[in-house]
């Protein structure tokens, strides 16, 4: 049945938005900053995966071993070099900084890589499988599964490990965390590292089925934003829920109404959420 196909596609895509939403919510939850440049990190991680494939023949699945650590470092570095200077600044300065970062990263990519689309060919995970009449693109499916694993891994990390709990405490109350002897600076840097690492994981997988260009950050960021606001800023479960709902909405509208209005619909939901229920569906 066609409807099921659309719904399944929606859920699969939704998981992908969800993981990006999760990375956003992680940073917001810990230090109340919205990173407008998140989409650019995604784009850059995809370029890395591409070049690892192009020059060394690494399949993205193996590139994971490289991209995740590299981007963890990238995120950590971003914090140390840039973000830590605006932690205490006004929201206005913070918005400005991450916006500037977005422009900077995007156009550096633009100048260095050029505007042409790239594509990784014949990744291991390509293909399609059929489950009772419903076609699943294997690459997307693996991505979605990886995202779910990412969620589980992060939740386990946050609740079961000492560092994770320290992160949670820092998120709740910076002063309290300090009084417990938690190195708050390190927690913030760690949060950035983890967040960008998650992005890199998502990006590496996405590169198996999507073309790569310098401007892709836009599309994903918007959808991730919508997911995160809908689900509730700061809530892990909310990111997942929000992502899936947005994925479903986008696919259903794209199919039943028109592809162009798919994006408009997402924006409309986004704005409605901001107006009617800015805390989102799930509160942290």
């Amino acid at each position: 049945m066609v409807e099921f196909q659309v719904i399944v596609n929606g859920i699969i895509e939704g998981c992908i938005f969800a993981i990006i939403a999760l990375s956003l919510t992680l940073i917001w939850g810990i230090m109340k900053i919205v990173n407008f440049a998140q989409g650019e990190y995604l784009m850059l991680s995809m370029y890395l995966a591409y070049f690892l494939w192009n020059f060394f023949g690494f399949d993205p699945l193996f590139s994971l071993l490289v991209t995740i650590p590299v981007f963890f470092g990238f995120g950590y570095l971003t914090y140390k070099v840039l973000i830590r200077r605006i932690i205490t600044a006004s929201p206005f300065s913070q918005i400005l900084t991450t916006f500037g970062l977005m422009i900077l990263l995007r156009y550096i990519a633009f100048s260095v890589f050029g505007p042409n689309f790239r594509r990784i060919l014949n990744p291991i995970v390509e293909g399609r499988i059929s489950v009772s009449g419903i076609y699943l693109d294997t690459a997307k499916l693996c991505t979605a599964i990886a995202c779910i694993i990412g969620f589980v891994a992060l939740t386990w990390f946050m609740t079961k490990t000492k560092t994770g709990k320290a992160l949670q405490t820092t998120a709740q109350d910076r002063e309290v965390a300090l009084s417990f002897g938690i190195d708050v600076e390190k927690m913030y840097a760690l949060a950035w590292g983890v967040s960008i690492a998650l992005i890199a994981m998502a990006g590496t997988f996405i590169s198996t089925f999507r073309y790569i260009d310098p401007c892709l950050g836009d599309a994903f960021l918007l959808l991730a934003f919508a997911s995160v606001i809908l689900g509730g800023l700061g809530s892990v479960a909310g990111a997942l829920l929000g992502g899936i709902i947005i994925g479903l909405v986008a696919n259903m509208f794209g199919f039943f109404v028109s592809p162009a209005f798919k994006i408009v619909m997402v924006y409309i939901i986004f704005i409605l959420t901001l107006l009617l229920k800015p805390e989102g569906l799930i509160r942290e």
Binding site: L96, S111, V264
Partner: protein, 323 residues
């Protein structure tokens, strides 16, 4: 009666030395075309005037009232489309169309302001981005007004049509509008309303507890701000003589307006002007001199500027100087 005159006089600046740099720039602009004939350089000046208009407009809402709109390009586009449609379809002279464009933009702002002003900081900014994108996509699909094909203005150069062959008339007209926009902000800055807006920006709750109707003043600021931005859009349409959604609703303009205002200093009269003077040459000259090699170099500079500004000096170069 005497008191009334007194309070109007209160208005005039007490120390005029502060205005000297501005006066110099004004004189410089007036005589510039006499010495510089190259249309490239004249174009740069025209863009400085342009961005001054838009930045001063944004400044009223974002700098004075503290409502950070990141989707201001919407009003730019609406203004441009309104005046162009009026000209192409009904032959309405842009001299009128420009102000109608501004009015329509202000009208739309009322619709947006109504629900959105309760949102704070980040959320308002996000909402304006969303609205800007919705508008751009909608215009892309709106066949009745050209959709992606756009609208071409008739090549009939005349005063009535607000179309000229050379740049010179545009130069002086835009200069006049830029001057007007600075004057508007000047008036607001020195008025009671300016005082209230600054109070709202600094401490909204306290301002409200003093009886200031936050909503009313934000709406007024929004309306004036978008009126000016709409006019800028119309002027732009008349200048490039062809409009389509990508040229009338480019996202980067929203950002650039903000950058320009911030470089100079938001919430000040001359900040946006100063910002335009600094920013435009910085982005226009490299773009041409680096040629095809440096795609996006100008934006890299932009990005770098923004980041540095945000970290080092968020109040801008003019800062909180009371001009």
């Amino acid at each position: 009666m005497f008191h009334k005159i007194q309070s109007y006089l209160d208005f005039l600046p007490k120390n005029w030395i502060k205005y000297l740099p501005f006066g110099c720039f004004l004189i410089f602009s007036l005589i510039f075309p006499l010495f510089v004939k190259s249309s490239f350089h004249r174009n740069v000046m025209i863009f400085i005037f342009f961005y001054t208009i838009m930045a001063e407009g944004w400044n009223i809402l974002g700098g004075y009232a503290g409502q950070f709109s990141v989707g201001h390009v919407v009003f730019f586009g609406i203004g441009g489309y309104t005046s162009s449609l009026l000209l192409v379809n009904w032959g309405v002279t842009p001299w009128v169309g420009i102000f109608l464009g501004g009015t329509v933009a202000a009208g739309v702002s009322a619709l947006i302001g109504l629900p959105c002003f309760r949102l704070r900081e980040y959320f308002f900014a996000l909402a304006t981005i969303g609205l800007a994108e919705i508008t751009r996509i909608s215009f892309n699909h709106w066949k009745a007004i050209g959709g992606t094909r756009g609208i071409t203005l008739p090549m009939k150069f005349s005063f009535y049509n607000f179309l000229w062959q050379g740049r010179l008339p545009y130069y002086y007209i835009f200069l006049a509008f830029a001057l007007a926009s600075v004057i508007v902000v000047f008036i607001i800055d020195r008025s009671k309303m300016g005082l209230y807006l600054k109070a709202i920006d600094q401490d909204q709750d306290a301002a409200e507890s003093f009886g200031i109707n936050i909503f009313k003043y934000k709406m007024i600021a929004f309306a004036i701000s978008t009126f000016i931005t709409g006019i800028a859009g119309s002027l732009y349409a008349q200048y490039i003589q062809y409009i389509d959604p990508p040229s009338m609703f480019p996202f980067m303009i929203s950002i650039e307006i903000i950058i320009v205002t911030l470089i100079g200093g938001k919430g000040t009269v001359f900040g946006p002007l100063l910002g335009a003077i600094i920013f435009i040459p910085l982005s226009e000259y490299p773009r041409t001199y680096f040629g095809g090699l440096a795609k996006g170099y100008d934006y890299i500079i932009t990005g770098l500027l923004v980041v540095l500004l945000a970290i080092k000096r968020p109040e801008g170069l003019v800062g909180f100087r009371r001009g």
